[in-house]
Homo-oligomer: 274 residues x 3
């Protein structure tokens, strides 16, 4: 199985699928091609949320504002999966979650609160390879010309024997992106930021839900809002803060647009008192 | 084959696909994840239109403004298909169409005009099972944590022997949603409403096309509009009323947006004189 | 393999998939159902870009503002592929590219600059068949009722023996659409037009990139803009002209919307001085 994820929208991913089908009979599964555009950090959040749900597979993920530069492609191997991505850190949070056996559901968010990264890659079971993308054939569509052929080759060769692919070389020091959780003070205040919004308009923060005690309301920036187990805690059209399926606080409106109502967009800072 | 339909947009359905692929090698087919958001009635219309085109399969359909409440999941079995959905009536019109052998094309809309429901489920060949969704693991993503695993289990067990799945129990009284057709008076007037709009901006009503006689124009609310066999009856940019492929009247603009031009949105009432 | 492409958005293509799955176990691959609506010329550009990347397959492509008229369906056979489309020229540029072995990457755009069409279909290895679509069953959804069943039948019969399908007849004179490249004067000026925009807001012209010499800037209409190898040539938010992966000039904004910034939409004329 080869999965594809990108911020390419449509129809560019169809070219990648064709390139892969010319090279292998592998099943192709689209994760999403509407990952947050030009935002590797938000995209990395979604990939860490989604890819650990899959059986071992070859994943090809591309969100890269630097496309067309001489950035290398990297292949992370962890827990039987291979993740092919630009060397901008995009794949690292997922590789780390896979290696550590973390699932992106509320009950599985790591206990240590913040995602620290004091371990060597080897120590947590991640191996990384690198492919130079310097290829004059196309300066603007590495997805079709570099990543798709590499995904097909990795699938055909086998994730377990990536070492036998000549054009891959070990990459001991890939760029590592971290997705730090919000800072909590005095058990009453979390200072975080908006990671992303979803198609419903829900605003996803980096504040871990489990830091919030059993309260009825919280104060988001300066606005007091019900804190509920589910959207059903409020009427349609009303604001509510819930713990999303990813384990983080969401600022939502039931059957409405939380981003509008809370006036929050990605990277905005969010302070929640509880 | 497992089909998936929802109002989840992207990227949430990718988590459901992963969960299913971890449990079965079944083929997954996406129906749509952009069904009308928070509108089970409009979604039920589309499902009744789409799913009867498929060979026998396990269908998993979720549009549920009450997500996160303690609503059960139900499984309808009809004509060799299984439809898994929240117990809000969403799956019933499709199950009924499957059981009665109705296809959602213009020539197959039921002759009785309105969808009455005086029959017992047994009498028309529908069986229903129930799964309690009370599971503290996640309060906001039943699609991933309840419905996807159930779809995989139903597929692996077999639609014909759902009775052998321990956690399913018979559900003699599921919620039944009906999609009543418009009322016709004096063979000159239909009083209906807007069911939904499509991606072209076409406004789909619940007025059966076959009630309209062979006329050149009809009056929609107070506006006189050509009534054509096809969009080609008018020039690009002009309003036209046609019978859609689902058998119902549509208020359209050729190569334009009918919803804007007719000022009609879902649930609005529509009166058509002919 | 059967590929599907259209401007149908969602959820109509799901009906086509069901119809096909009822008739064959072929793999279905969605190219895109968000091709430029009602714009066969722009859609033809994308199909020529995308389909040559695929292994031999049955392609079903529908973008047809005349839907519901009595336009025939045609089947182009070229290089082992079959392309089923309305007889409005949509499939011709792709069939021609397949027959001539042209790939839609920068290094493979035909050397002759303009796409002339002085050859007979036979001479370049294209065969065409025709299916009358006059069928009273549905006047508005030929995708489901005509094209999908035909795609399934062509797949089951085999692309190599289309002649054995009774309802197909030879079509020596299908409509041929051409996608002419821009006119270049004095090696300093290209007069072209906008073909389409993509999901990033990039404006794709019909000006072949290879006509531009090694310069730092070009003048688009009356605006002087950097001409770069990649988006990375400018800062985020800035305008840039690049050669896209299709080989044509694009008017882009790095991490922004080129269509807004250049005030260009499809069919607008574009003059580039260099």
């Amino acid at each position: 199985m080869i999965t594809l994820a990108s911020d390419f929208g449509t129809p560019y991913p169809a070219a990648m699928r064709g390139v892969i089908f010319r090279r292998t009979e592998a099943q192709i599964v689209d994760i999403s091609h509407d990952l947050p555009a030009h935002d590797p950090r938000a995209a990395a959040f979604w990939l860490r949320f989604l890819l650990p749900e899959y059986p071992p597979a070859v994943h090809c993920a591309i969100v890269d504002p630097g496309v067309g530069t001489d950035r290398d492609a990297v292949v992370f191997r962890a827990d039987g999966h291979a993740i092919i991505a630009p060397d901008n850190g995009l794949a690292y949070p997922t590789a780390r979650a896979l290696a550590l056996g973390e699932r992106a559901s509320a009950s599985h968010v790591a206990d240590d609160g913040r995602e620290r990264d004091t371990h060597a890659l080897d120590d947590i079971g991640i191996e990384v390879f690198r492919l130079s993308t310097l290829d004059p054939a196309s300066t603007t569509f590495h997805g079709r010309d570099v990543f798709a052929p590499l995904a097909a080759q990795v699938h055909e060769t086998g994730v377990g024997v990536l070492e036998t692919i000549d054009r891959l070389e070990p990459a001991p020091d890939p760029i590592r992106m971290t997705l730090p959780d919000a800072i909590v003070s005095d058990d009453t205040l979390a200072r975080g930021r908006v990671i992303t919004t979803d198609d419903f308009g829900n605003v996803i923060t980096n504040i871990l839900g489990k830091v919030i005690p059993d309260v009825d309301h919280v104060t988001v920036n300066s606005e007091r809002v019900p804190f509920g187990d589910t959207f059903a805690a409020v009427q349609p059209g009303d604001q509510v803060v819930v713990i999303g399926s990813h384990g983080y606080l969401e600022c939502d409106v039931r059957e409405g647009d939380g981003s509008d109502a809370f006036d929050l967009t990605p990277t905005d800072s969010v302070t929640v008192r509880f």
